[in-house]
């Protein structure tokens, strides 16, 4: 069965390592914060100027001056730091953030990602996504494998305007965990009960399947 959004986030959380600074995008990536493994210490970076983002506040601690990049009221953990937007993007562009998790409309086998614009529909803007994909060494894309009509979003070539080129390395979808290497997606894990054939069918890009593919565990 395909993973829920929460399960995608839960699987991605297994990639978090002790001492990581992590930027989580809006949507599924935000949920990753709920599944940080026990015994490790990480700090969440929010590009509007916060390192050490905490959980949502109690009613009495809501502060209009303390928000995340999704403009939600949040808290700051002990040891957090506030800074301006230029400093924030020095962290991002300068490669200081260890892991970036973000959503996508489409990705392709060249490592390109499209996540900010659907021509003819509302254009909201790219926000910080282009800076994040250009600066991060380690990007995990969280997305659904296919659209609601069953058409693959894992493509030979993105059809939508790009957010960044040659930057995607790992993707966790509702069906699979894949790694991009040498112009092909390598299937690493599959959602419980989902067959390799189904993943193959919903992957337009070149998909390499080597040996037995284990089911995703949490």
């Amino acid at each position: 069965m395909a993973l829920s959004k929460q399960q995608i986030a839960q699987r991605i959380a297994k990639e978090l390592k002790d001492g990581y600074y992590v930027n989580l995008g809006i949507g599924i990536p935000t949920l990753v914060a709920n599944y940080v493994p026990d015994g490790i210490e990480i700090m969440l970076q929010s590009e509007n100027g916060l390192l050490g983002m905490g959980e949502f506040p109690d009613e009495e601690h809501v502060d209009a001056d303390l928000i995340n990049a999704g403009k939600q009221t949040v808290t700051a953990v002990k040891g957090a730091a506030f800074f301006d937007s230029a400093t924030s993007f020095s962290m991002i562009r300068g490669g200081h953030v260890d892991l970036t998790v973000l959503g996508a409309f489409e990705i392709d086998e060249k490592g390109n990602i499209a996540s900010w614009m659907i021509p003819g529909k509302l254009v909201k803007g790219m926000g910080g996504a282009m800076d994040l994909v250009a600066g991060a060494e380690n990007i995990i894309v969280a997305m659904t494998h296919a659209n609601k009509h069953g058409e693959s979003k894992i493509l030979k070539e993105c059809s939508l305007p790009l957010t960044g080129v040659n930057c995607v390395k790992t993707v966790v979808t509702d069906l699979a965990v894949m790694e991009l290497k040498d112009g092909a997606f390598h299937l690493k894990e599959r959602a419980p009960g989902v067959s390799v054939e189904e993943i193959q069918e919903k992957t337009q890009a070149k998909l390499v399947v080597e040996g037995d593919i284990p089911e995703i565990s949490f």
Binding site: S46, E47, N48, G49, L50, E55, F56, P57, D58, E59, V62, D63, A64, D65, L66, I67, N68, G70, K71, Q72, T73, V74, A76, F82, F83, D84, S85, A86, S88, F89, I92, R93, N112, M117, L122, V123, K124, G125, M126, G127, G128, A129, M130, D131, A134, G135, P161, L162, T163, G164, V165, N166
Partner: protein
């Protein structure tokens, strides 16, 4: 209007004296967080038109820069994310307003460069995308970078700070800093609307975010501090 290094002005009229049609404005804030509310209201009340506004966002319907959209005062909007605003969408799609979408980090750095006297810089952000169209590229260590230019200095740079002294030294509060410190450096006239004005010496020099040299006018503001997405534990 001001005396010596005393930057404090007594009214919004004084704070925005010299504001005219077709000017370039930079306005601090991220969403509605850290916006100079009273100054924006005053720009709206003044009725000036044909403005070019550089700001990460364009407010929401009826608040923040949304107020200037309502009165069609903005000719060109430059920002990274402007999606929380239905009127904005209409003005954009109908072509009534020109919109230049710019990646957030590039926007921040262009503003910083403006204030720092750096005419242009190379960045990997946007290389190979629509953002790179028409821009010079250069390859360093096998990676492609695009040339991004600084903006002209803003006729008015409008920022919000937490505390100021009469020399214009500023301290920002939490994530309300965001674009404000860079924008403060990039104005021909920088106006800081602040929550509290204190006497010189009361702000610890170790903790000044924006030194007063960048700031020309300081006004005591009054803020509603509207929240865009009120999220609390358990929802």
């Amino acid at each position: 209007m001001t005396k010596g290094l005393n930057k404090v002005v007594e009214s919004y009229d004084q704070a925005l004296e010299g504001l005219k049609d077709d000017m370039l404005l930079m306005v601090g804030g991220f969403g509605l967080c850290g916006i100079p509310e009273g100054l924006i209201q005053k720009v709206a009340d003044s009725g000036v038109k044909g403005l070019t506004c550089i700001s990460n966002n364009a407010g929401v319907d009826g608040f923040g820069l949304g107020k200037l959209l309502e009165k069609r005062q903005i000719k060109t909007m430059i920002g990274s994310y402007v999606g929380e605003n239905k009127l904005f969408e209409r003005l954009f799609l109908s072509g009534e307003m020109e919109v230049i979408l710019t990646p957030q980090g590039t926007l921040a750095e262009k503003i910083r460069a403006t204030g720092a006297g750096i005419p242009a810089f190379f960045t990997a952000t946007g290389a190979g995308t629509k953002v790179a169209e028409g821009k010079e590229t250069k390859t360093y260590n096998g990676k492609e970078y695009i040339l991004e230019e600084a903006y002209p200095k803003a006729d008015f740079a409008l920022v919000r700070a937490w505390k100021a002294d009469r020399y214009g030294n500023l301290i920002f509060r939490k994530t309300a800093a965001n674009f404000n410190p860079m924008i403060a450096t990039a104005g021909k006239i920088t106006v800081a609307e602040v929550e509290e004005i204190v006497e010189p010496g009361e702000l610890d020099p170790n903790y000044i975010h924006t030194p007063g040299i960048f700031v020309h006018r300081v006004i005591q503001g009054k803020f509603e501090k509207r929240i865009e997405q009120r999220t609390v534990k358990g929802n």
